[in-house]
Symmetry: C2
Subunit: 173 residues, 2 copies
DNA sequence: GGAGGTTCTGCAATTTATTCTCAATTATCC
DNA sequence: GGATAATTGAGAATAAATTGCAGAACCTCC
């Protein structure tokens, strides 16, 4: 039995005093049929609806994705594009993202230990987990080949980056 | 020897064809003297400079923090405030964030295994690590007590959240 | 240590993303 | 089916971030 039937979601909306509207149904439907690994911005979702002659106002889209994110139905992703993207929050396909800060290329990856660590942390503080996202900012091989950082010795980024974790360093001159 | 001396940073700028200017020095100085656990938005940084009679234009601030983030000197944080915050990227004090999506309360925590997992992933794909951030979206105990989610059975969020990872679930009706 | 060339800054205007306002509409509960 | 409260759409408003440009500042190289 799928986790996201329209009926079970309607029940969740109603239980909190919210309503299942045609607009919300359509938005959910789009995400449910989105190929794995895709995610949409509010703007992209809006354009998609327009094309299907199922126009939904941009404000409604913004309101809906925000609400569904807070409910845990969608995940709100902050990748490198400068605006938010959304995807279904599917426990069975929970994943994280690695982004090239040079070209914005994004790679999804799974890693169950991240969720385990998050659960541990959440429990420790008495919180209730909604979602957890590991975002890796990095430089992709292509960008490296294209000369990132162009005029620097090849080990530059290593010296700077957190990859070389050095203890006992204090921030002063 | 501290990681972030003005001289070593100047060398890093210059090596890439960038320049160490008084403005950038001042900005770095602010971050170097920021108490642990604090982070600033571009706007806050701007106000701070104004107060010290060291006015730096907002555009320069935006340009500088972006550049330094891409260099790996600063970390760009997307927490719950709706705008970006910045802090020094200090390997020795690398940490992650747990945010209450109800009240925006933020808790920092350390967890070395996150960095290890990130390094593993980065290596696998031939990327070069700049930074990695685990962001946990959760509901804090206070918000839970205040009745989140108000009209729902107390186990609601558990059914929905990724905490209960269920295999073999497909997104369809 | 100065010239030359390039980067950087500040200002103002602009873009982009998102939220708000409010009247009209509509889902839900009884 | 009707009352009630949530939701929608349209556009205005806000907030964050970016850009273009002219003048100033910095680095390199001799």
């Amino acid at each position: 039995m799928p986790l996201y039937t329209t009926n079970s979601l309607k029940a969740e909306f109603n239980a909190r005093g919210w309503r299942m509207t045609p607009q919300r149904k359509k938005i959910l439907h789009v995400f449910q049929n989105l190929p794995r690994g895709n995610h949409l911005s509010a703007e992209e979702l809006h354009d998609l609806m327009e094309k299907r002659q199922e126009g939904i106002s941009l404000s409604t889209i913004y309101r809906s994705v925000k609400l569904m994110s807070r409910m845990g139905i969608l995940r709100e992703l902050e990748l490198a594009e400068g605006h938010k993207h959304y995807e279904l929050n599917q426990p069975a396909h929970h994943h994280h993202h690695m982004v090239c800060i040079q070209c914005n290329k994004t790679i999804e990856f799974k890693n169950d230990s991240i969720l385990k660590q998050s659960l541990k942390q959440v429990e420790k503080e008495g919180f209730q987990l909604i979602d957890c996202q590991l975002t890796i900012m990095a430089i992709c091989p292509e960008a490296l080949r294209m000369g990132w950082p162009s005029t620097l010795p090849s080990n530059w980024s290593c010296t700077r980056s957190i990859a070389e974790k050095v203890e006992k360093q204090e921030p002063n001159e």
